[in-house]
Amino acid sequence: MLRSPFALVATALVALALAAPTVALAGPKKVPVVTTLNVLAAVTKAIGGDRVAVTALAKPNQDPHTLVAKPTYKVAAKNARLFVELGLGLDGWASAVTDASGNPDIQAGQPGRVIASDGVATKELPTTLSKSWGDIHPQGNPHVWLDPVNVKQIAANIAAGLGRVDPDGKATYDANLKAFQTKLDVALYGQALLDEYGASKLERLSRRNELIDYLKTKGTYDKLGGWLKRAEPLRGLKIVTYHKTWIYFCDRFGLAITGEIEEKPGIPPSQDYLAKLIARIKAEGVRVLFVDPIYPSKDGAFIAGKTGAKVVASPIDVGGAPGTGDYFALIDTLITRSLAAAK
């Protein structure tokens, strides 16, 4: 029987199939987690620590809206115990990956599937109460992770997911979650303000966008530190973005978005529209353009040339630019680059 080459190959494959799980058992029992975006992978690493082995499917400068899933993605998903997607229609290809993977634990609704944006209040809900599918993002703008306050909720969702698939590590995950959330609060508000008001109150004020006014009324504005303090010169800065990515970031740090380079979401601008946009930029005195590295730079450079505005290469994902190795570095880089362009 073994003389036939086909039989030989078949036996080899069967042996491999049986060996694979044993090989897996022999190594350290890290929980394999697959995420769609890199920022989700960064947060998962922070929560999971040494207990998890995280892979992000999308590359940092790949446009997550239009990403087409490769066969390698489904292999990674096949072996995962936890699958983290952002949701809100940004990574619709995630379902294709999980369907193709044949992994029953990470299907929709199963404990191994985390929708990271659960519980986050979205903005830019479409106003037409129409049941037609016309809108690209019917649940609101999906770029929620660019507001540090929302990342606390994302981290909580991921920690809950990890706790479901790895109950032994639940205590570790909860402790790491608390530490991560505190680190975020310190990075955003500064330790002094955190001691003054407590994390819960500051988060509530931030959610209602009342923080700055409240601090000024109470006379404790000088205690503000962290990113909010660093980004003080950016408050009120008028910017134009390439895509409707930045609403959360700008609402948090006070920038004013006055328009987009894209004619319609997902459609690059025509010459006609660019001309109108340039006129508007000049009229309103916009000096800063946010062009994400996932989009070509020529339109941004063209506008900058005509109007004298400065282009900020604004990475949207962890790893999208050198020096953005984790979430904190990402926001730091964004603020630094914005400040440089705003001078």
């Binding site: 209040a121 809900l125 049941k131 001691d195 003054e196 008001y197 819960s200």
Partner: protein, 537 residues
Amino acid sequence: MGYLDGLIAINGLPLLACLGVSGILVYLGMHVVERKVIFVDLALAQIAALGVMWAILMGYDHEAEPLPVTLYSLAFTAVGALIFSITRTRNERVPHEALIGIIYVTATAGGLVLADRFALGTEALKELIAGRVALVTPAILIKLVITCAAVGAAFAGLHRRLIRISRDPAAAEAAGISIRVWDFVFYLLFGILITQSVAVLGVLPVFAYLVIPAVAAAFLFESVRARLLFGWGFAGVISLVGLETARAAQLDPGPTIVCLFAAALVLLGVFLFLRARRFAGRAIAQVAGMAALFAAFLGGTLAFKKPQRTDELAAADEFARSGDPTRMRQALDSFRRFPDERARWVPLVVPMVDSPDPVVRDQAIGLLVEIRAPEAVTPLVARLGAGVEPDDNTRESVIRALRALGDPAAVPALIAAAGREVEPDLAVAMAVAAFELAGAGLDVELRGAGDVLVQVAGDDGAPRAARRDAIDALHAHVAIDPAAVDDAARAAWWQAHRGELTWSAEGHRLVLAGAPTAGPDAGLDGAPPPPSPAPAP
């Protein structure tokens, strides 16, 4: 038997009123149809209604003092009858109907003019026109029946003479009967009946009872007896069906009966038409065609229903019920744009306060506060229950909402929740809200609020701002000894004097029993201070 009981209970008396009145009205209707002066009774009925309005203007209450009102109405009707009999001209260059129409319109206009002169005038006029048959009492019924019987007896006695005049006035004139006098008698008796009936049934139903059964009978039969019997049966059936339909569909019974009369007449007409053509296929087709045309007309009017506002609300209604958080949020945004329709959407928004999604809860609370909906207080208070609301942000929204709505019923729940609250600043906010909303008689509970404030003020683990706010609130709402400046002193003072504190409504603070109510910020004349601006949470 349940249905019959319901029928008798609600529609028993009205049905008797209708039947009683229809008995005499159908007979009179026959006369009226024969005389071909259909409009007279409508005009007379309107004059009677005008008389009632005048009586009310003269100060009489038509419910409590029916006799003066009836007499006024009768007087007007008598005058009206006089006018009609005088104006029946032999030489008809101007048709009599024109004059009757003018009188009708004048009477209605007069009624409208009077309706503005006293409170609920339009209501009274509407009741006179549409009738209040549903509100018939046994007393009214008996009065009505007696009147009908009396007039009926009079008519029965004068029947022959009146019929002769009705059928052939010229011949009767020739036979020596004075048309004018007997006309006046006819109209007078008629007027008395109308006055009584209009008060109960209303102008339109009375006209309907008068004319429609008679017309239907006239289509079908020749002899007086046949017409009478058919008319009575027809009126009886329609009365019953009309009252029951109105009961089932929550409609005004008087106008419903009128509409059903008309519908029955149309059906009768169709039946007669078909019978005349021996139910030929073409005839049926014509009828079907007309029906279809009418249905198309009706459908067409519906098709052009203006879509905008109501459709968005209808979609928002559906979205609010869907249970999907995104849709519910969209529904809330939509409702916010229609504050006038709040009666329609507040019942949908109130349950959203308990939605599983925290963003929806928060926004629902915000919307209810914006429109100051008092219905929100109960679910909000429930939201403060032990372990009910896990999200800090939403708890804060609940506190703000209760403060904005200002209902003192929330105070005990606020204090209980403050005692359980983990977040110090929220506990302080709850206590402060309780103090602000409190009315009298909550002394014991408000001491609990003071407990919370003292506890937070002395809690080393609480954020500095929360502790500061607690101290400020204590000074604002509790007559604490100004000398107690540090935590220990405050706590000591509180322990010592807690039991003696009572709530002073004028000063809006807890004070020691017997102490002056004015707070430390009182003016020199001892006037109570203006309500202190409590620290906003």
